[in-house]
């Protein structure tokens, strides 16, 4: 079986056998997810280990995390098309695909996460415009449409598909006005990243999550945007680096990666300044007003203060300091390390902001309870990752997403 005629012009890809084997591994994970999804929909959410204390579980963490990491798409798009940083055209395709994967994966997950999936669209039809979740639902969905529009021309650029003139023209024309979509996407993405943060910030009866506001929005609104756009480019770059390692081929020049690293560095530093200020204000002003102390909130069960040091230190200040240095960015390995730490920070932040507010009881006489996801919950989470691997692998194999690949691998 030879699929080489579908490969992008002038590149080589691994043997079909190896690719099929890899796909089977991913599909295996996907099967686990399908089984889990079936159980959760057929039997209900009792299949998870969530409960009335942990109304949200690992799914929301994964959702928030992948949406944060997927922010590379809109921010890279913003820099490429709106700020006209042409170097980034070498990585924008990968960013778009990763964004598409993250957003569509998150929506799939949310579809299972709600108790009445068949009524999911009520959130649109009977929208309560005051709910941050409504904002999230509208923005994510609309932005997914944008991502699809951005993804379509990439698909149409497949060597065989692009032979059809109608489609080729279509792809080309889409590309020409990509700035419109990129700008719309930036706007939408900006809002829903913020809304996701706002979702927790408005829980004013949950001292752990509650942050005081700027005008009408809580700080988390802006912090979530910043942490997403700080980690998103890193994640995109990391995926590209990972693909390079797996395929053994150079896909983008190091300059592009360095630039992405630099973007992450500045944004992350800015984020950390605000985040630390916010944390200090929260711990010293907001919490005492509510009668609780920082130590109490970070003292229950497995949720100790080490989480703060990890989130803000190991996964925050450290990668920021690393990425700020040109020498670090020049080193492939160190750049990758710093970016991994950066992404971990985003994931950690989403975990701390979702699970921990629920885990720490607010009523003084309520007891701390633990939560560990069930295999069905892990299954769905793994399924989203598998879904991403499948889409990205297929895209890499058959679509010309790396303009520099041919040139970089000459000779």
């Amino acid at each position: 079986m030879d699929d080489s005629k579908f490969w992008p012009q002038g590149v080589t890809r691994c043997k079909p056998g190896a690719f099929i084997a890899w796909m089977l591994v991913c599909l295996g994970l996907g099967g686990w997810a399908m089984l889990s999804a079936f159980l959760c929909i057929y039997k209900g959410l009792n299949q998870t280990n969530m409960n009335d204390f942990f109304a949200f579980g690992v799914w929301i963490v994964v959702d928030l995390a992948i949406i944060a990491l997927g922010a590379g798409a809109f921010f890279t798009g913003f820099m490429t098309y709106v700020l006209r940083r042409d170097e980034l055209k070498n990585i924008i395709n990968a960013a778009v695909i990763i964004g598409f994967i993250c957003y569509s994966g998150a929506i799939l997950m949310l579809g299972i996460d709600i108790g009445q999936p068949a009524r999911g669209w009520f959130g649109f039809w009977h929208a309560n415009v005051h709910s941050m979740l409504t904002e999230v639902m509208f923005c994510i969905t609309t932005y997914l449409i944008v991502l699809i529009v951005e993804f379509v021309p990439l698909v149409l650029e497949n060597r065989q598909i692009s032979k059809v003139p109608d489609l080729s023209f279509f792809a080309h024309n889409l590309h020409r006005i990509m700035i419109v979509f990129a700008a719309t996407g930036t706007f939408l993405s900006f809002f829903h990243q913020g809304s996701l943060g706002g979702m927790y910030g408005v829980l004013y009866a949950r001292p752990f999550a509650y942050r005081t506001g700027i005008v009408i929005w809580p700080w988390t609104f802006f912090l979530f945007i910043l942490s997403a756009i700080a980690s998103g480019p890193s994640f995109t770059t990391l995926i590209v680096m990972l693909t390079e390692k797996v395929s053994g081929r150079k896909l983008t020049s190091h300059k592009v990666k360095m630039m992405m690293g630099k973007v992450s560095a500045y944004l992350l530093s800015f984020y950390l300044v605000l985040k630390i200020a916010d944390t200090l204000y929260w711990a010293n002003v907001t919490l005492p007003k509510m009668g609780v102390t920082f130590g109490e909130l970070y003292g229950g069960g497995p949720y100790g203060t080490y989480l703060v040091w990890m989130e803000l230190g190991l996964f925050g200040v450290l990668p920021a300091l690393l990425l700020l240095q040109r020498r670090v960015r020049e080193s492939y390995g160190l750049l990758a390390l710093a970016m991994v730490l950066n992404c971990c920070g985003a994931v950690m932040n989403r975990f701390v902001m979702t699970i921990q507010p629920l885990a720490i009881p607010v009523l003084p006489f309520e007891k701390f309870v633990g939560y560990l996801p069930s295999w069905q919950e892990w299954g769905i989470s793994a399924g989203v990752i598998a879904y991403g691997l499948i889409i990205f692998s297929l895209a890499y194999r058959y679509l010309p997403i790396f303009p520099q690949e041919v040139e970089l691998n000459k000779g």
Binding site: G44, L45, N46, M50, N51, D52, F53, F54, A55, F56, D113, I114, G115, Q116, R119, G120, F122, G123, H126, A127, N128, H130, S131, M132, L133, T134, M137, M199, V202, L203, Y204, A205, R206, P207, Y210, T212, G213, I216, W217, P218, P288, K289, M290, G291, V292, T293, P357, L358, V362, L363, P364, F365, E366, V369
Partner: protein, 269 residues
């Protein structure tokens, strides 16, 4: 601030006063509530994290050694918060599908299960754990569906439910008033738990009506609310003469005294 001024304008503000020193934790309120509101029973009810009890009776103790130990009970219905500026309850503002709202007329926080999509955002938003998600389809086996109350619609799996202050009783009381041309009097609308309590620990009525007993009791300096400082501005008051019980009702810093801390800016944005 006077009692009525705590809440936004509206004809009624229904609320409760629960005398913790009278509650003996027998659970009559809970059972009466369940039977009135068709709350289901699951096969494993020891899993309190998934068990639905609109009116839950919390047992607390003072942690002192024998023989100074004391226990007390906090019956906890939905507290029907109002928040700082009218209708800003922790839960209503977060619902994406308008499945719950704050009735400006009565101050009651509704929950419409047929509209609910089961996102559980409200469950996460409520600090009192007064909102319950139906993790299971309620089994109504072999005859147990026969005593279901027609005034309340049974719920399906995957939706949130909670105490409604027996709103259907208000609806029925209004029906009667419409027919007779009179008004809904204090005793015409009482919740099932209030009626059931053998100790008379619960008083229910309109906080806005100074003739209602509940308004008189809630205005007492001994009355307090759960997590009052968060600014949920709810309508269920408690009362005790025991300092340790009072201290368990809210979060206090070590040097703070009860009864001296004002509600914080919560919900202020």
């Amino acid at each position: 601030m006077s009692l009525a001024d705590r809440y936004s304008a509206g004809e009624h503000r229904f609320g409760m006063v629960i005398d913790v020193d009278k509650c003996t934790g027998c659970g009559a309120c809970t059972v009466a509530c369940m039977s009135e509101n068709n709350v289901g029973v699951l096969f494993d009810e020891t899993d309190k994290l998934r068990s639905i009890t609109w009116m839950r009776v919390y047992q607390i103790d003072n942690g002192r050694p024998f023989p100074e130990t004391q226990v007390a009970f906090f019956p906890r219905p939905c507290l029907h918060c109002e928040g700082s500026h009218g209708q800003h309850t922790p839960c209503v503002s977060v619902c994406p599908a308008t499945a719950t709202d704050y009735d400006e007329h009565t101050g009651i926080v509704s929950q419409i299960p047929t509209r609910c999509i089961g996102c559980r955002y409200c469950v996460g938003a409520c600090p009192y754990h007064a909102r319950y998600f139906n993790w299971f389809d309620t089994p109504w086996p072999s005859g147990l569906e026969r005593p279901l109350n027609p005034a309340v619609a049974p719920r399906m799996r995957g939706v949130v439910e909670k105490c409604t202050f027996c709103y259907h009783r208000f609806q029925r009381a209004k029906n009667k008033a419409f027919l007779s041309g009179g008004k809904v009097e204090e005793m015409d609308y009482q919740t099932a738990c209030t009626e059931a309590c053998p100790s008379g620990a619960i008083t229910f009525g309109d906080l806005r009506n100074p003739n209602h007993k509940v308004a008189q009791l809630a205005a007492s300096p001994e009355a307090f609310r759960l997590l009052e400082r968060l600014g949920t501005n709810n309508k269920v008051y408690y009362r005790t003469s025991r300092e340790w019980v009072r201290r368990k009702a809210d979060n206090y810093l070590q040097d703070e005294k009860t009864g001296q801390v004002a509600a914080s800016q919560g919900g202020g944005h």
